[in-house]
């Protein structure tokens, strides 16, 4: 079945390839002029024909089926000067034209709509529905806890919520945090968190391009119900040696790039926290903790048609804790966890019309935990994923783009635990095969219709086969307004067991858990406002089936798969681990964004309504999940102070060698649901216990809403350019109002009464650091 579908795709590809041989086209790669870095998502446009495109993940663009004539090629990308070039296309000519974009430190405040620039509304039109792109610069300028972080930056976008300050996990449009696919240079990353979720594994200095799709994603993507986060790291500077270094209260990091001969480049980053070497040495009662991570990426352009890219990532967190440092003997716990990924990508331009990327990727997450001398107990948790995949694009004509591909995954999830009185040994080795076909049709310059189909076969202890149709449409209503819609069905075969403080455990669909399903329906409205503002309004409805939520009383439903010689049980399956249910999310999001000028940033608002229904929870009645917030307001702004002053006085902006930048990040969220105790009662833990203890009994599940959440973060950066390097010290203050946002409440029964303690999220946290570029 799989091979049949793949053969059909190939045949179809070669047929259309042959059919399209004699058409004139314009294609090529778009690079950063200074570094030679291929740029993703650059808008490419021919105003005379009102036809355009954008560069793909390899920085490649093509405008097919061009009639003979003289044209203007316009390329526009955030942070770069607009590129224009006059070109002549002859009959049947397949012109390859590489574009090198020059960096524009700042752009003019007044953005005039002229013939050789691309309108904001057209850039919005080229973007897929519900997709948001952020540059590394934008991410680094948002004030955060201690230092810039990708996942926390994404939490400032409408529709993407954290569950608390203590988590960088994303909850996208009502979905749970396991419903997001994290891709690093094309490789799946399973638990992308350091430091108990405080920081993500993505080093922002190494990032080239980030885009997140909040829903309605096309047939090229699948395996998760809610979102796709696609992160591409820097390929490397192929023109010269370049470096970055940063020191903050938390960590030191550096990123270096250099050419590899004349045909390639390499970039490498490394980061390590030194909390354990500073505060950890001064204070006895806190754990020894550090993490490090690093990545290397290199590419070789073998010839204009072939490029090989290799990407490696590795990171590890290490924690150890002694319970009582003053005792003669020591007892404590040791915990370490981390990700490793590797990918090889072959980029192949078969012809100007037929473009392909083939990947071989490997990803592994592992964690170990032991209680040292305390108890003969340990835990080993591992996920490995070996994937071969290919994405092909055939640009048949200006009206027809065909995308197709395949994916073959060998996944292994393994969880082993030894404890006195038993052990756990659960292993799944599923095979996941995917083929997809996507047909993009542009009948007129105003319409873009995409139909796709994704076939998945998931062979585990139970086999699943699913067809997931996808649809999207864009309509350019006027010069400044676009309308968009998307719908699709999505399947997920991986389920997650959250763990206290340690990293989550992944398991797969099997004899006890089916695949989860979601359908998305999204409508979007986009408007260019005052030339350089982007206004996006989207409404969505998501319907979930077969959601799996960790069952907190699973321990009463466990069934041993066998026994050890001494009679201790061995648990080998996931029966009873999850509660199964359904649900829906619906909402409206508004984003007003400005990417150019002295003041950049966005204002976002989202209204969301998410309800789950599980037979085993809340007496089978609907409930809102813990991460639900009805309303959220985000305000993110970066102000170039000198240029803002010039603008206020009616002067043009300038590229300064000394620059002060002020950052603002404000968030308001209505209260999250929580289950509070309805009452307390007396009970002992064994007959004969000397006294009965106080126990708490819940009120209605998630029936209470916590007070609203609000936070204002500020930062100030000073950037000074010297002859050979740039220095940028910064000061950030997280939660400058020191608002006590409630995380949860806890109870302590003393003196015949319960003391109710509010556990708050982060208080005011000032931090400072310095970045260097050389």
């Amino acid at each position: 079945m799989k091979s049949g579908i793949f053969t059909c795709f190939l045949l179809l590809g070669f047929c259309v390839h042959a059919f399209g041989q004699n058409n004139a086209s314009l294609s090529g790669f778009v690079y950063d002029e200074e570094s030679g870095e291929a740029l993703i998502g650059v808008n490419v446009y021919i105003p005379e024909l009102q036809r355009g495109s954008s560069t793909n993940v390899s920085g490649y663009y093509i405008i097919p089926k061009l009639p003979q004539g003289d044209y203007t090629l316009v390329c526009d990308y955030l942070g770069y000067q607009t590129y224009t070039s006059k070109l002549s296309i002859n009959i049947g000519e397949q012109k390859v034209h590489a574009v090198r974009l020059a960096s524009g430190i700042v752009e003019g405040e007044i953005v005039e709509v002229i013939a050789d620039s691309i309108r904001v509304s057209r850039k919005l039109y080229e973007k897929d529905i519900s997709k948001v792109q952020l540059s590394a610069r934008q991410i680094s300028q948002i004030p955060q806890v201690a230092e810039a972080d990708l996942l926390r930056s994404l939490q400032t976008l409408p529709g993407i919520l954290p569950v608390s300050d203590y988590s960088s996990a994303l909850h996208v449009r009502g979905g749970s945090s396991d419903q997001n696919l994290y891709l690093l240079d094309g490789t799946d990353v399973y638990n992308p968190e350091h430091a108990f979720g405080l920081f993500s594994t993505f080093n922002t200095d190494a990032i080239k391009h980030v885009e997140i799709s909040k829903g309605g994603f096309n047939a090229a993507y699948g395996g998760r119900l809610s979102s796709i986060l696609d992160v591409n790291n820097l390929d490397g500077n192929r023109e010269r040696f370049e470096g970055k270094a940063a020191i903050s209260l938390l960590s030191a990091k550096t990123t270096l790039q250099m050419p590899l001969g004349s045909s390639g480049a390499i970039s490498a980053s490394i980061r390590r926290t030194y909390f354990d070497q500073t505060i950890g040495r001064a204070i006895d009662d806190i754990p020894d903790y550090y993490f490090y991570d690093g990545n290397i990426k290199a590419f070789w352009e073998l010839n204009p048609q072939n490029k090989i890219t290799v990407s490696l990532y590795g990171g590890r967190d290490d924690l150890s804790l002694n319970f009582n440092n003053k005792s003669t003997d020591k007892a404590g716990l040791n915990l370490d966890w981390g990700n490793s990924t590797a990918s090889i990508r072959w980029t192949r331009v078969f012809s100007p019309q037929l473009f392909a990327n083939f990947w071989l990727t490997g990803s592994r997450f592992s964690s170990t935990f032991d209680l040292g001398d305390l108890l003969a107990a340990d835990e080993r948790n591992k996920v490995t994923d070996i994937t071969a995949k290919g994405n092909l694009e055939y640009h048949h004509s200006s009206k027809w783009l065909l995308k197709f591909g395949f994916e073959q995954k060998e996944i292994r999830t393994s969880y082993k635990q030894n404890f006195p009185g038993g052990k756990v040994d659960v292993e799944n080795r599923p095979r996941h095969s995917v083929a997809y076909l996507q047909n993009n049709w542009r009948p007129t310059a105003a319409w873009d219709i995409e139909l796709g189909l994704r076939y998945s076969s998931f062979q585990s202890k139970k086999n699943f086969q699913d067809l997931a149709p996808r649809f999207s449409a864009k309509y350019r209503l006027s010069e400044t307004i676009n309308l968009k819609a998307a719908a699709g069905i999505y399947y997920q075969y991986l389920h997650r067991i959250p763990q206290t403080f340690t990293s989550d455990i992944w398991t797969t669909s099997n004899a006890y858990q089916d695949q989860s399903r979601a359908s998305h329906l999204i409508f979007g409205f986009q408007k260019e406002v005052a030339n350089d503002y982007q206004l996006e309004i989207e409404g969505y409805y998501k319907d979930y089936g077969n959601l799996y939520r960790f069952n907190p009383t699973f321990i009463t439903e466990l069934e041993p798969g066998g026994f050890q010689d001494n009679g201790d049980p061995i648990y080998t399956n996931t029966k009873g681990i999850f509660n199964q249910g359904d649900g829906y999310s619906q909402g409206v999001e508004l984003l007003l964004r400005k990417d150019v000028g002295a003041v950049t940033g966005w204002i976002g608002y989202s209204y969301s309504d998410t309800k789950y229904q599980f037979d085993a929870i809340n007496d089978g009645l609907e409930f809102a999940p813990r991460h639900d917030r009805s309303s959220t307001v985000n305000l993110v702004a970066t102000i170039d102070l000198k240029n803002a002053w010039r603008s206020l006085n009616g002067n043009l902006m300038q590229a300064d060698k000394r620059r002060w930048t002020f950052g603002i990040n404000f968030v308001y969220g209505s209260g999250q649901p929580i289950t509070l105790p309805g009452s307390a009662y007396l009970a002992g833990d064994a007959p004969g216990a000397p006294e009965q203890g106080i126990n708490y009994f819940p009120s209605q599940f998630n029936g209470y809403r916590l007070p609203y959440y609000s936070r204002l973060d500020l930062s100030i950066n000073y950037r000074r350019e010297f002859k050979s390097f740039t220095m940028e010290p910064y000061l950030q203050v997280f939660n400058i109002g020191n608002r006590k946002n409630v995380w949860f409440v806890q109870y302590d029964f003393t003196d015949q009464k319960s003391d109710i303690d509010t556990i708050n999220m982060f208080p005011i946290l000032p931090t400072f650091g310095v970045n260097f570029t050389f």
Binding site: S164, N324, S327, T328, K330, A331, T500, P552, T553, I555, T556, E559, F563, N566, G567, D568, P569, F666, Y668, I674, T675, L676, P677, G678, S679, A680, Y681, L682, A683, D685, A686, P687, G688, P690, E691, Q692, Y696, F697, P698, S699, Q700, N702, Y704, L706, P707, Y708, L712, I736, G737, R739, K740, V742, W743, F744, Q752, K753, S754, I756, T758, N760
Partner: protein, 297 residues
């Protein structure tokens, strides 16, 4: 105009981002429940059945008495259908059966029915337990006396290991560990688990004295198993009584879940009670055996 718009926005942002979120435990969250704690043992009289009421989280127990001495409590032998009223014993503040015509038998099922009025509301609860089979028998223990955290030649800590004959049909066993002499003078202060001073010991002496461990999902067939007691179950240099319980399903489910109700995100869930109606707590049964050990300095 711009200033007029922006200033109120800045003021609203600043006001919003200060202050404190306050959680109010509203009285409407409270629902009256009958809290049960009682166990049956084969061949033993029915006693120590504690029937109390639950109470609002912010209640002060110096002014609110949780006891329900007026409750209507009865025990029914499911086999015979005979019902036995239980009466309140003011000496031990629990319910018991005072007649001579009820003998708890292994493998029999018994239903407890409770009716009570709490804050003017009549509520009821019932639960059924099936008494485990007899057969639980402690066969021996590897050491009767151990030094605290005594180590073997390989520097591994030696634990007490209790070999026992299982009760057929029963999968969960609990060991209740009680220090027979417990005061501040023989408390183990030099322990690697927790820093404790004499005041802490006195404040919570009953809890320091008592600890429990359980093992679960042992084979339901007859045969031998081993129960391991750890060094952190012992907080005094003392003699200890170890009572081993072979637990019925109600007790096993309750013990596995009752004190692990707060989730990672602070949410709360209910334990597994196996009590129908407006009841919470545990009505279970067990078979027991006892052994004594000593921990020295």
């Amino acid at each position: 105009m711009k200033t007029k718009t922006i200033l109120p926005v800045i003021a609203a942002v600043l006001l919003c981002a200060c202050g404190e979120g306050v959680v109010k435990i509203e009285p409407s969250l409270y629902e009256p429940k009958i809290a049960v704690e009682g166990f049956l043992y084969p061949g033993q009289p029915v006693s120590d059945i504690y029937i109390t009421r639950n109470f609002p989280v912010d209640a002060d127990l110096t002014s609110l008495n949780p006891l329900l001495p007026e409750a209507q409590v009865s025990l029914t032998d499911i086999e015979s259908g005979n019902s036995f009223p239980l009466s309140f014993n003011p000496l031990d503040l629990s319910f018991h059966y005072s007649g001579n015509d009820l003998t708890i038998q292994a493998t029999y099922s018994y239903r407890l029915d409770v009716q009570a009025t709490i804050e003017g509301k009549e509520i009821s609860a019932h639960a059924t337990t099936t008494v485990p089979q007899t057969g639980l028998d402690i066969l021996g223990i590897n050491h009767e006396i151990l030094r605290y955290r005594q180590k073997d030649v390989a520097e591994n800590i030696i634990d007490f290991l209790i070999d026992f004959e299982r009760s057929p049909g029963t999968t969960d066993y609990i060991a209740a560990v009680t220090a027979l002499e417990a005061d501040t003078s023989n408390f183990i202060y030099d322990n690697p688990f927790e820093e404790v001073d004499a005041e802490d010991v006195l404040d919570d002496l009953a809890n320091w004295r008592f600890d429990s461990e359980w093992i679960q999902d042992t084979p339901a067939t007859a045969g031998q198993s081993t129960f391991q007691l750890f060094w952190f179950d012992f907080w005094f240099y003392s003699d200890y009584q170890i009572v081993l319980f072979a637990a019925d399903k109600n007790y096993a489910d309750f013990l596995r879940t009752y004190d692990d109700v707060f989730e990672d995100d602070g949410n709360l869930h209910a334990p597994v009670f196996n009590i129908e109606g407006d009841g919470i707590g545990i009505f279970g049964s067990a078979v027991t055996d006892t052994v004594f050990v000593r921990v020295t300095q």
